[in-house]
Symmetry: C2
Subunit: 341 residues, 2 copies
């Protein structure tokens, strides 16, 4: 067992990212010396996962503050550029807002990035421990996409919970949905589970219904890219379908996310911008064109799961239970966080 | 517009199949001169789709009856070999049973195969016309896998219905689920829709929930591999999930299939054998490994949709409406068909 390396690190004055586009076949580090490098790494998914792109963006601001033409304007421009990379994960907006505030207060932006990174590690540890308590011995748990070390820079949200539950002897098996179109489940979650020594099998996303109908799933845990004030959850496309199936089969459906993913300024899931990505991601598979020339595709990267289908949100402040709107309002993070710019 | 060529033909004493493994990139014909060629073509999905494999098997018996060691025993052996290729589609068992009966009655097996093929063409035409009447102008319809010309040897079941509804001005747009792991939607349905000039977009299987939640789907039509006496439907894995989502969103969910897909000898969906295929279909694509070495996968090819989620079964005898068990009992095909051996 060789655990997943931390995928985000500051080294010799630059941000280094474990390039997730190359996994699981190659462990390649991408060195980002300029803000533009970080922005492109986020856009092309060299780094991905809501918490991880927030932390990467914070390091991006630190690069701007240290650059040859470093001044407040350069940092503000960098925040604007980084904000434009991806629309759905609120952690990005949140980290950039933290950066703007630190800039206004004259604090060091590298120190801020390191502090946000460390806070994420702590949040992951805490929420993993709270989440593990939800499991029962022998549970077979299903997850979607990748909400692990690679997605947070800490020990992971959904996979952090699963790892802690496994360590406590409460997870017998993990079903990892492959997660089309970019196969984060097959490429990244499988890689992490394998390194952690947790028994698992990959399945196509379409198999989840059959698994539940056959009684092979005891619990579902996923991450989140943004949680609205009412508890609606934006996450990787396909999450909503899993929640609908879980409701039909009476299976516990949990979301694991740090409070930085809760966006008090977004009232409901209807207000969350859902990223649409290139049709090419659907038309091709692992670089090989699948569909006939001239065929088109729609590629929404996220969907929204209504709060009513979520049995709990596992955070570093504990498990938020329904009614989620009230539970969210009670969290300091949700109640006090200012609206992202 | 150049319509899909008929994928099954008898030519110069052999069965020729449009090799579906090579589509959409190449139109290559596979010539089967021996029963074993046909069996392998079915196993490797050179020909696929419940009605199409039934017809291919019938031609396979004709090959056995014409072979160098042709006698009744050779035909019975051929039927046994062909039956062992794939377990779920009942059309295969049904066509082989028709062959055994014809053999016992001294009829010509090539004539039988041609008759079954022609009956499928007629069934597709009739059910397409019945199905088209279910649509309203401007409908956006979603389908899964491929239930078109390629899957039946006629004009298709689900895609036959969609084509007839489009011709009648009642389909504005088709959502084609790509259908992992073998991407029959992206490779085959897209190819057929494009040739038919029907506007469509491919989506990942996981996107169906989002599309329905956003009000972008008016109707769902899929094919079937086996329909139990109570109306439970075995079809490509993922179908059950679509039916659950359709129920949640009040969207009409229809199954299009010839009566030869109805299996009166199978009481419920629990009794339908669901094929499990190689994990490699999930772990790799086009020969390229996606998952890390050592990762495992489960690959059920089909799932079961309970009758309660099906709004109608579109057959050549009309649209069977709930309660489906009674509607099926009333069809001559369902009531009179003998149990497959």
């Amino acid at each position: 067992v060789s655990l997943t390396p931390e995928p985000i690190r500051w080294r010799d004055g630059a941000l280094e990212l474990l390039d997730q586009r190359c996994l699981p076949h190659a462990e390649q580090w991408l060195r980002c010396e300029r803000v533009e490098d970080v922005a492109e790494a986020i856009e092309t998914l060299a780094v991905r996962g809501a918490p991880a792109i927030g932390i990467a963006a914070a390091y991006g601001l630190a690069l701007a503050a240290r650059g040859p033409s470093a001044d407040a304007g350069a940092v503000i421009d960098a925040a604007r550029r980084l904000q434009a990379t991806r629309p759905t994960a609120v952690n990005l907006a949140w980290a950039l807002e933290e950066g703007r505030r630190a800039l206004a207060e004259g604090r060091d932006l590298l120190e801020l990035a390191c502090a946000l990174h460390e806070a994420q590690r702590e949040a992951d540890r805490a929420l993993s421990s709270y989440g593990a308590a939800l499991f029962a011995a022998g549970d077979r748990v299903l997850t979607h996409c990748n909400a692990g070390v690679l997605a947070t820079g800490g020990s992971g949200t959904a996979l952090g919970v699963i790892g802690a539950a496994f360590a406590a002897g409460r997870v017998a098996h993990v079903w990892a949905c492959e997660t089309r179109p970019l196969l984060q489940g097959a490429r990244l979650t499988a890689w992490e589970l394998q390194r952690a020594g947790i028994p698992f099998a990959l399945v196509t996303d379409s198999s989840a219904g059959l698994l539940m109908a056959r009684g092979l799933v005891d619990r579902i845990v996923v991450g989140a890219d943004r949680i609205a004030a009412n508890g609606d959850v934006a996450n990787k496309v396909g999450t909503y379908t899993l929640a609908v199936l879980a409701a039909r089969h009476g299976i516990g459906f949990y979301v694991a996310a740090p409070l930085s993913t809760v966006d008090a300024a977004t009232a409901t899931g209807d207000d969350i911008p859902l990223e649409r990505r290139s049709a090419d991601e659907v038309l091709a598979f692992a670089g090989e064109r699948v569909a006939p020339a001239g065929a088109g595709a729609e590629n929404w990267a996220f969907d929204v799961t209504p709060a009513a289908l979520v049995h709990g949100i596992v955070t570093e402040a504990g498990v938020l239970e329904p009614p989620l709107d009230r539970a969210i309002a009670r969290t300091r993070g949700g109640a006090l966080r200012s609206a992202p710019a």
